[in-house]
Subunit: 206 residues, 6 copies
């Protein structure tokens, strides 16, 4: 499976000019490679997920390390995530538009699963050292069902897999009430309530 274009050189660490103007800001989204002779080992090493992120009150923290966070990944077709769960913490139903994910449990017991195009669910509790694959683009989710914090390390076959968290994407994005009411069989009041709950919470997490 392929979610990214193929590379045409060994690697390409983006050259990022200082963002001192609107125009430069635009240019910085171009793919400009540093001269390879100026690259060194540190460009290919990431040290920012050695410990858990901050759970705050949500009980869940995810650090998604795509090619923006770790430029050495650029053009190489991979990225990764560290997800930490407090007791009972959840990773809400979500999916990645451009990648398959292979997730390994580093600590704890986690209920993991995904849903296929026929609405069949594939879910189970897995433990430290076990690995589950979430096929490209399918809705999946996790919940810490053990009695201690849990950690998952996921890797993706895209340098920027994208992310749509269902509650925020559907109820926090501004889709017309009438459509949501019909789609989910909810009342206007219920929709409002969900919006109130979901909007700020997601903003903290994004």
């Amino acid at each position: 499976m392929a979610s990214d274009p193929d590379p045409v050189q060994d690697f390409c660490i983006p050259y990022t000019p200082k963002p001192d103007s609107r125009r430069i800001a635009q240019l910085s989204s171009l793919q400009q490679c540093k001269n390879a002779s100026e690259a060194n080992a540190d460009d290919f090493i990431f040290s920012g997920i050695k410990s858990a992120g901050d759970f705050k009150e949500s009980g869940f923290s995810a650090m998604s390390i795509n090619s923006k966070a770790f430029p050495g990944l650029n053009t190489l077709g991979m990225s990764f995530v560290r997800a930490d769960f407090d007791l009972g913490g959840i990773n809400v139903p979500h999916f990645h538009p451009r990648a398959t994910e292979v997730a390994m449990v580093l600590e704890g017991k986690v209920y993991c699963g995904f849903v296929d195009s026929a609405n069949r669910i594939y879910a189970k509790v897995i433990e430290k050292g076990e690995v589950m694959v979430f096929p490209r683009g399918l809705v999946h989710f996790q919940m810490n069902v053990g009695d201690s914090p849990a950690t998952i390390y996921g890797s993706f076959n895209s340098q920027n897999p994208g992310l749509q968290r269902i509650p925020a994407a559907v109820f926090g994005s501004g889709i017309k009430d009438e459509l949501l009411k019909k789609a989910f069989g909810l009342s206007g009041k219920q929709i409002d309530e969900m919006r109130r709950k979901l909007k700020p919470k997601e903003e903290n997490q994004s």
Copy 2:
């Protein structure tokens, strides 16, 4: 963007042996091409979406024509859909794991939109002859907002784009109540109610 492997011949209409045994049924999922000399124009023409599907009570009907329904598409990286909307009919928030969609309004006025990875919404009412693109893998939706039935013709850059309809995938698939309650801020009773409403309705539509 690419959602399918490249072809290695002009075309490959699957050769489908009669499904008279379990083993043959398995074999039929293999990619066996008919001899090209036995193919003819009819293999590349689809006539099954000349008129609307049956709305029933849901007010919406979609006929997805992938390479199973239209074998001539096999290996060619495209497929299409005809969606018909009665007054107020909706196509619930959904996405295609393996394709971008380009949708043209054939009749009527339709509120169309999608949500990006940052939960921003891009939505507007479009009319007969207008075209909207839904980027690969992003949640999108439609609702007939005109005063007559509406029809959309969508095309995909995959022979089998896949489909996840959010209400059924999330509330009709059997994800644990506790996870859903936390994810959407709903009570157990509300979840039950949504399940009751969504399960059978989706089954009719799939």
Copy 3:
């Protein structure tokens, strides 16, 4: 099938600086994305093919909407075309170097077909609501054989499928006479005549 690189973000509407100098003109061919926060629904909607193009005397008009005409398509791997045919109007034998086409008849009766690598023809008259697939890179053609104007809407699995119209590419491009005479078994006078007829006509259409 894949004719374009995979995307590495949800979408990328090209940022096009004003073409006020030669250098900027060059730069504008780079892929610079607008900040997603500055995009809106209109960037993903195309309204320019609601009515037929101008037939002039040729009896045929095609509006090809690739990622230059509709920047929202950029990186998304799709584009489309509206083709209108007056009575007896034809779309000359042509092909798209980088895409499969799925063509739906919106109005009229159209003789549609393609030729495969073994010079076998797959052609038939199709009508409103019928769909024909033209496999990637193969020569295909259309002719209005009904008694009223006809319209076709085609979609492609490339943001820029390319186009080679055989008469103009072969007889209007300047290939040496000697080669053309041998290739087609024509006299020099016949070649000259075809050139005279084909050159200006194609220029109007391109």
Copy 4:
């Protein structure tokens, strides 16, 4: 550029059961790999183009070595061709739907060229040791303009690039006269004449 799917193993020499029945014939189009332990060096070596093919009266001979002729190429995304030209011999305008070609002149002086989507021609006489690239899917052609036989060795980035020779594809395939007359500005008599000349000639060459 990619015209084939990526491999998922080092190589895959197709396992071809004896074609002793219709059903086996179908099966043989499946991709079945020989056990790698039964492969040897000869599976990856091709010795059939050491000398020129037979010109017969046409003055041109091409031996296209795709993955059918040389099974070791299967899944590896490449193939090649040897083309020999007698004095004044031509390779008629043609294109490969699924590959770029890089052509090296092994002997002689050859007028080589291609036409782009804007009908611009890129053509020149090149000599032994010179190389010309024909971009994927564009019409190209060659003619021996030296005073001795010429030979070209071309390679492709597809295991099966496909081939459409314009004269035979357009005038030898059975496209309706009326369409051809309009497309090329020819009379019915001229079309008939071209058909008579092109049909058998192409059949010898294919």
Copy 5:
């Protein structure tokens, strides 16, 4: 980056008929998918790398989990490896022909590095929780430089990345002595000695 073809369905767990004959053995290399309705969560979970493999005397153990070992990965474009190192244990210079690798240190201190096409080295000691990326197809290596056993978890963007371990591929495969002597500036005696050492050791590891 892409090393595998794109999927055309949500997933495809290979259907493997019993290998009771030579012919069936061949057939089993075909891609036959189990009916999705017969799949369950266990098909997508791998539990075989919860603990280290057996170091034996080599001080190193790698368990490569590709789509043969874990059929649920089939068509999904990813695979993974667990590598364990005793004190001073090494993973010899090697590369994967069809994938980038992202490697995370689960335990210990490991000297990790790769070499680019200009023979520049990118190497450093990394620790638990740090991640290094090895670009597709480049030679890389690891050595436990801490004072306790070390473990690395690597993931790949191919379901079957392939592996060439340089010592065995070059000195243990049977390349002519004369070529090796010239290539490495070694004497025949030295080559013999390396062969003796490398042949059996690699066989234990493969």
Copy 6:
């Protein structure tokens, strides 16, 4: 097989601004296409490998023509190499991280081979007019075993296949002695000696 992204236009000859500053140097690695109307046939023709390179004392010379050396190849997914061998000259074990190679012997008798992921060797002497395929990313090698100079012309399915020459990549790049000693069963003195021999020699060749 695919080692490069797909093109999205007929061709794209990079526009290279003058490298008069560090910033421009960076910009020049961007993909800026010349206006197609300013391109001509010479942009697609390469004349630099009509005769052999300089053997110097090494007995081997390779001219790798990727998209940097021949900008017309840019985005077209192919490149090529001319390799000349004096009597007994060798092309050391090496591989291309991003391409399959199809190699034709233009002159002489050459021992050619490659090694697969199971360390099996596929090697044989081939002669003028014979062709061997080296699957993507696998170690391969050549040696002139005839009694006159030999020449090979290789083509690749990537515009920039990359190259890792094993002796220089492993012994000339600075991998820690301890790791190399263990990996190859060599003494520190032997490693030093190899380094001395390999370092300068490779530098002349790169």
